[in-house]
Amino acid sequence: MAEVKNVEEVKEPLFGKVEKKLITDPLNDNNPITVQVLGICSALAVTSLVYPSVVMSIAVIFVTGFSSLFTSLLRNAIPKPVRMIVQLVIIATLVTFVEMALKYFNYPVYKQLSVYIGLIITNCIVMGRLEAFAMANKPWRSFVDGIGNGIGYGAILIAVGVVREIFGKGTLFAGSPIEMKLIGANAGNVEYLINTAAESGIGSWFGWYTNNNLMVLPAAAMFIIGIMIWIQRSYNTKLVDVS
């Protein structure tokens, strides 16, 4: 687990060994989704397309980072019995901010994500990191830890999104300015910022592929994450559940 002992006041580099570990740990050994099993709901629900998954990841990274920072700044002032409510208020404020920003800057994606933006409040990763780390550590480290866990979450989210979108719809980044059509009936139409249809490229090799509509269904996300856990644990055997 990512536990850091409070060392005495020595001059430390802003981005030392500890910080580096806090960033890399959530990517594999301590991944919020596949190891800690936190924040699954949104991981499954928003990943049928890559673009919303990317937006969601950015939103979560923002919320985990800053909620950890603020909680850590306030940690000595929060009384124990009401700490959950204080934490929830911090998180809810940040999420409200994210929601307003998204509504203003990118309305289509806001519509697509619908209630799941609000559900960042109840995303267990955020709360989990506040309880496990930010309440006991200094602000800068908590901030880095929050960002690291956000990235670990985002990595899985985007990986699942890529698999689901390519096999389910044959596109990549649909709905965004760099929408691409990779496989399927109209393969080869790789659309970039302007609508120029290309007849060559990797896409044209896969013209025979028919979209697998199972991938669009929510159940596919469960299978993909299950298989990801399987793969991760066969390489990283210390994570295997013996019970």
Partner: protein, 204 residues
């Protein structure tokens, strides 16, 4: 009454909180190792959902909307107020469970206060707002959604109790298998709505 039953059945089976929207997965995966604890948590979720949904409906309608008490659009306060209602209701449940059944209380441990951050509860309230339900609809939705969550966690707990005796590859044991089982259950529940043939027909 027809509409009430309609929404109840729909939210319990077809649009199941866990299996169609993936709400409340964390506690669903973490507490589903034995049927007994899953049963207790399921009941607690039914109660909390059933109570918070109408309360949040009233708050949304009479405090936050434009024709409410303050006559202004205060919907940006929605998240904070909803979560405050949920947190206090969960606190209430926690006190009741501790009094009535200390054994269940210790079995649930940290997951009882964590109902607060169970996405199913807040998600239910947010769905209720976005679907513009009225009061009786939201009661039906709360009870139905809670019942669906209860069914799903009982089912997965029962399966996980039995699958302990199966020869699952070591790396897939536990969590990985729970995911795949949930996916299969999701497909099963989806077929309750009747499968649209177009879904499997592929592109035209």
């Amino acid at each position: 009454m027809g509409e009430f039953m309609n929404i109840f059945i729909k939210s319990a089976f077809i649009e199941n909180m866990v299996l169609a929207y993936f709400l409340g997965m964390c506690s669903y995966l973490a507490v589903s190792k034995s049927v007994n604890t899953a049963f207790g948590l399921g009941l607690a979720v039914i109660f909390v959902l059933g109570v918070t949904m109408p309360i949040n409906w009233l708050i949304n309608e009479y405090l936050l909307s434009e024709n409410g008490l303050f006559g202004q659009d205060l919907t940006f306060l929605r998240f904070i107020l909803f979560i405050a209602v949920i947190a206090s209701m969960v606190q209430l449940v926690e006190m009741v469970v501790e009094k009535v059944s200390p054994a269940l209380y210790s079995a649930l441990g940290i997951f009882l206060p964590l109902i607060t951050v169970n996405c199913a509860i807040l998600g239910g309230s947010l769905f209720m707002v976005s679907r513009e339900y009225n009061l009786s609809n939201s009661i039906a939705f709360g009870l139905g959604g809670g019942f669906g969550w209860f069914l799903a966690i009982i089912a997965i707990a029962a399966i996980r109790e039995k699958i302990r005796y199966s020869d699952v590859p070591p790396a897939l044991r536990g969590l990985g298998m729970a995911f795949i089982l949930t996916g299969l259950m999701g497909i099963a529940f989806m077929s309750l709505m009747g499968i649209d043939p177009a879904v499997f027909a592929g592109p035209k």
